[in-house]
């Protein structure tokens, strides 16, 4: 069963903060909770709901609209997988377009108030708000995506998106004619920088001459700006584009220009049938099913996981026939190697942009190393905005 709770608010443009604040005051009201959620909110405290027999109430807070065809869409597919797996043993609901920051705390408290006992927060910026709400509601279990802080009743989960980026890179390296590939970056945090590096390493594994140009749009979701960034990369000679942003604008721009690009987070092949070289997707379903199972069976424990190809969380799909057969076979063998642990992406020697070795020969990067990647590897041009 689904009880979608929709919430529309807030203009996204940061420069217009004051205007946005006023606007939020005017417009926050539109919010239709489904009847069963509303009745639960009025009389059932969270702890009672947990003990009472009946379906497990699970809620998801999304940062974007489900219709973004990217990040949030992928999370929602995960939610649907949970519904399919557990049927009437669970009731799921979601709130979309919850801005990162103080507003998130209010929404998450609201979800607790509605009797949900398992709550997923699907973006980094919900970390502090969720920690606060978790401290006040020990009987509710919190699952926070892409963060690093935990509590007794809050754990973290993430996916190794860089594995998809690497496989995309292998294809990009074989398809570029100009030996220049371009990346439209979102926000310069380690996760995104790691993806840019992994994409470059993948491309260099088949074509050592690869140069990667990067532009940052400083937003996760801004289709016109993503278009402008992509156009600029094409203007500068990049002929295969990769993106770490949420909409399909980059792929669309490549399609229009007769160049190549990849889908990100979700299958985006429909947006650029000719340009699409594959979509690096995140499959949140397996983890969401595991977390739900843990909660249902009472085996839920705090901690943190980082799932990749091995656990079925990451995949590269929809690679077209234009990609040479040996490259497609190579991607499949990488995938198989990642699955059984025989293939390692971040293995030395890896040289940084400045020519200094960051990973010695045969050294394998651990998760701590990967979590703190704040440098470009050799072949990436430009500087990381936040690097001092």
């Amino acid at each position: 069963m689904t009880s979608p709770v929709s919430k529309r608010s807030v203009l996204k443009l940061a420069g217009w903060a004051t205007l946005a604040a006023t606007a939020a005051l005017v417009g926050c009201g539109k919010k239709d909770a489904a009847p069963e959620a509303a009745s639960a909110a009025s009389d059932a405290p969270a702890s009672a709901a947990a003990a009472a027999p009946g379906p497990l109430k699970i809620a998801f807070a999304y940062v974007g609209p489900v219709g973004d065809a990217g990040w949030t869409f992928a999370h929602n597919q995960g939610r649907l997988a949970v519904e399919k797996e557990f049927g009437d043993k669970v009731v799921t609901s979601f709130v979309e377009k919850v801005p990162e920051g103080p507003e998130a705390e209010r929404v998450i408290r609201d979800l607790v108030g509605q009797g949900n006992t398992l709550i997923f927060g699907t973006t980094f910026g919900y970390m502090e708000p969720m920690l606060k709400v978790a401290a006040d509601n020990p009987n509710v279990k919190f699952e926070h995506g892409t963060g690093y802080k935990t509590a007794a009743n809050m754990r973290t989960y993430d996916s190794r998106t860089y594995e998809g980026a690497y496989m995309a890179g292998v294809i990009a390296g074989s398809m570029t004619k100009s030996n220049t590939v371009g990346v439209v970056g979102s926000i310069p945090i380690p996760e995104v920088i790691r993806n840019i590096n992994s994409f470059t390493l993948g491309a260099q594994s088949v074509n050592p001459k690869i140069k990667t140009k990067v532009v940052w749009v400083n937003a996760w979701f801004d289709p016109p700006k993503e278009t402008e960034g992509a156009q600029s990369l094409l203007n500068q000679g990049a002929d295969v584009l990769f993106q770490n942003t949420d909409s399909a604008a980059v792929l669309q721009t490549a399609e229009k220009a007769g160049k190549y690009a990849f889908g990100w987070d979700s299958d985006m092949s429909a947006f650029g049938p000719k340009a699409h070289l594959g979509s690096a997707i995140i499959n949140w379903g397996p983890y969401y099913i595991k977390a739900t199972k843990d909660a249902l069976e009472g085996t839920w424990q705090t901690g943190g996981v980082w799932w990749g190809v091995k656990e079925g969380a990451i995949d590269l799909i929809g690679v077209p026939e234009v990609v040479p057969a040996d490259i497609r076979a190579k991607v499949e063998s990488i995938k198989a190697g990642l699955k059984d642990g025989s293939y390692v992406i971040w293995k030395g020697p890896i040289v940084g942009q400045d020519g200094k070795e960051v990973l010695a020969k045969d050294a394998v990067a651990d998760d701590k190393f990967l979590g703190g990647v704040n440098f470009y590897v050799k072949g990436v041009e430009g500087s990381i905005p936040s690097a001092k």
Binding site: R8, N218, E228, N235
Partner: protein, 309 residues
């Protein structure tokens, strides 16, 4: 580092980027010259973007898409106009409400269209001129709407300052009481200006979803409507300056991406701010004479009019 080829592409991308903001901003200029401030540009553009997209997907025609977008923008503006002109609701609050309403409505209507594709369209080129080296790729391979926007700015400039109808429109924005005393129907004229402005915002919205980023995703206008609103003011309500400001904004946006791609050692956050800063600085410099601003600003902007009061 910038070669002739990449400069041509940069100019082409600038014209393309500037057109979105120019179209919307010219529309808002008509509104504001008649004394009505419509903060709902973003919402109108969003609704027009999905309306234009839906029409184009179903008919396969871009022209029909633009007409659909203009109609959607005009319709929303008409609703706004009736509220603020006849019922005298607060223009600021009503405009903000329109903006939020448009964001929600477009998202709701658009659900069915997020995975739908526009039919493949031809590339545009001006015959003959497009083959000239450098100038061709820079100026003559644009969507027709780019040239229409330029013609519109020139035409509007003439119409406002040189034609009788333009004078009446400005009179309504400066001193509705005087216009009323002279026998002009202030409220219908204001409504007409609001609808025309909304239709132009609609064309701008349709340009985004049909040409600029040819797909539909929720919230895809991403603040361009607010930029257009600001631009109208900074350009002191003059069409030529609106066009200049829009291209300046588009140009600096593209230039900052170019600089990023070439690895210029400036934090990209600063570069992201650059288009806004540059546009504001240049337009403020142009119009630094305060008398000029006062002369140009419609004296009754944002003020309701009560006939017979």
């Amino acid at each position: 580092m910038i070669t002739a080829d990449s400069l041509a592409l940069l100019i082409a991308a600038t014209l393309n980027a500037g057109t979105v903001v120019a179209l919307a901003s010219l529309g808002l200029l008509i509104n504001e010259r008649a004394g009505v401030l419509n903060l709902g540009a973003e919402g109108m553009m969003l609704v027009a973007a999905i309306a234009g997209y839906a029409v184009a997907v179903n008919t396969g025609s871009d022209v029909a898409g633009f007409v659909g977008g203009a109609a959607a923008g005009g319709l929303m503006a008409a609703a706004f106009g009736v509220l603020v002109i006849w019922l005298n609701t607060n223009q600021y609050a009503t405009g903000l409400a329109l903006s939020l309403f448009g964001a929600g409505l477009s998202a709701f209507v658009g659900i069915a269209y997020t995975q739908q594709q526009l039919p493949a369209r031809p590339h545009f080129a001006v015959p003959g001129l497009a083959d000239i080296p450098f100038i061709g790729p820079a100026l003559f391979k644009q969507h027709p709407m780019v040239y229409i926007a330029i013609a519109l700015a020139v035409g509007l400039s003439w119409w406002l300052m040189r034609s009788r109808a333009g004078l009446v429109l400005r009179a309504v924005g400066e001193s509705p009481e005087s216009a009323h005393a002279l026998g002009y129907a202030v409220r219908p004229i204001r409504l007409a200006a609001v609808v025309a402005g909304g239709a132009l915002c609609g064309v701008a919205g349709a340009y985004i979803s049909l040409v600029y980023t040819p797909l539909w995703v929720e919230g895809m206008v991403a603040g361009k409507g607010w930029i257009a609103l600001a631009l109208t003011t900074f350009a002191t309500w003059r069409p030529a300056r609106v066009l200049l400001g829009a291209y300046l904004f588009g140009g600096v946006t593209m230039l900052q991406f170019q600089l990023q791609g070439q690895g210029v050692q400036i934090p990209s956050q600063w570069l992201t701010m650059l288009p806004y800063l540059a546009t504001i600085v240049v337009l403020v410099l142009i119009s630094r004479n305060p008398t000029w601003i006062r002369i140009n600003m419609p004296a009754s902007l944002g003020k309701p009019f009560h006939p017979g009061a």
